[in-house]
Amino acid sequence: MNVILLRRLERGIRSLTPFVTTLALVLLGTLPLPLPGFATVMPWLTLMAVYYWSIYRPDLLPLVATFLLGLVQDSLSGTPLGLNVSVLLVVQGVVVSQRRFFHGKTFLVEWWGFMLVAPGAALAAWVLVSLYFGVLVAPQPLGIQLLLSIALYPCLAWLFARAQHHLLRST
């Protein structure tokens, strides 16, 4: 009996991997790094995480989890509460509806998909923020952030894939 219970518990903890990795990236993204100007163009780590997990394990990253992650990100980064929440939710909705397309394709297709999704998400965020503050926010930092996110996506996707391989094979 106990063994079964333990196994179930273990599986439960493992299945938190997508949520926990994304939450860790939210926290990592807010740490003060000693690189001049880097915080301004910090890659959009949560977007990459939500994109990846929406393709591979949407069952383990339910919409409510994404909602909470966006809430934490907005609270910590001081952006209008609801900004990251809505953008990440819409990204997840779009990606999950198209995920069959990515199955069995090479990584390049997944990366290419990210190159389409990320600018859309950035544009949506920019429009929302500009509406919220009632002023056109300078788009340059966002552009650099976007390019960095696209460039870094393969590294992060590799890490996620390792985590998925080691922790989620059986779930």
């Binding site: 740490l31 909602f67 919220y132």
Partner: protein, 293 residues
């Protein structure tokens, strides 16, 4: 792929999809309402944000320590490399400062004497609370940092935050053990300032760039590159005379100021505990009123 044999499964699948679509619309709706309520200044939104920030503060505090020590090591190495040239510079500076010290002593005596003569009511000297920066939330849209001190340490909304170089920003949100500091450079930051030499009053307005603008300068005001900008103390929320930066460029109407504060080396800051008894009610903060020209 699951097998879709049983009739229950066949029925359950579309229902599941329908429920998910419903949940999606509901959650996106909730997210957008958060934005709308936040814009309307709902206290619930602020409390929600503060609760989350407070809960994350100890974790961020812990995580930011190794980052801070790593950057300290890098700084150490850099200093070792530049030791010689740095020493020459410091010797020069020391010389100059010693002369300044003499002048300052003399002026201080003179000032006290004059104040005694005039029965001048001096500004209260601010006390301060030192806090560590645990979160740099300077993303593409906002410029703010999280610090380790909060309401239980005496941090209140509107207080000035400085480091050794000068004004950094002011407190806009306080949780129990953490607070958010809106930097001078944020889109919504508005600081009443004066040009130190000419005493011209203006407002320093951030726009998310590294160098905020001076607005509401009097027409035909003469400002030149290199002028020092300090807080004016108007509005009673900030002490007067805190150094902010120097004017670096004059481009038609736009006067840009380079702040003294070094944003990427902000590790410890001081929150000045300075509130005049006749100050504005704490709900009225120019910072959150949104940008204006």
């Amino acid at each position: 792929m699951r097998q879709q044999g049983s009739p229950v499964r066949r029925l359950a699948l579309p229902v599941k999809g329908w429920v998910q679509r419903f949940a999606f619309v509901l959650l996106v709706g909730a997210a957008l309402s958060l934005l709308v309520f936040g814009k309307a200044g709902s206290p619930f939104i602020e409390r929600l944000r503060l609760t989350i920030t407070d809960a994350a503060a100890p974790v961020l505090d812990m995580l930011s320590r190794p980052v801070a020590s790593a950057s300290a090591v890098v700084e150490e190495v850099r200093q070792l490399v530049n030791l010689r040239s740095e020493m020459v510079l410091l010797r020069d500076e020391n010389e100059r400062l010693r002369r300044w010290q003499a002048v300052a002593r003399k002026l201080e005596h003179e000032n006290t004497a004059f104040r005694d003569l005039l029965n001048f009511v001096a500004d209260p000297l601010p006390g301060f609370i030192t806090a560590r920066v645990i979160g740099d939330a300077s993303g593409a849209f906002v410029r703010s940092v999280l610090i380790t001190a909060g309401a239980r340490d005496g941090v209140r909304k509107g207080q000035a935050v400085v480091n050794s170089n000068g004004l950094v920003g002011r407190v806009v949100e306080t949780g129990a053990r953490s607070a958010r500091v809106l930097l001078l450079t944020d889109l919504n930051a508005r600081i009443p300032v004066v040009v130190e030499a000419t005493r011209l009053a203006a407002i320093l307005a951030g726009d998310n760039s590294d160098r905020p603008r001076l607005i509401f300068l009097p027409k035909n005001a003469r400002v030149s590159v290199g002028d020092r900008i300090v807080t004016s103390g108007r509005g009673g929320m900030l002490p007067a005379g805190l150094p902010i930066g120097v004017v670096t460029s004059l481009d038609g109407d736009s006067v840009r100021v380079q702040p003294f504060a070094n944003w990427h080396t902000l590790e410890y800051v001081r929150v000045l505990d300075y509130v005049l008894s006749s100050a504005l009610p704490s709900t009225h903060l120019a910072d959150r009123a949104g940008p204006q020209r």
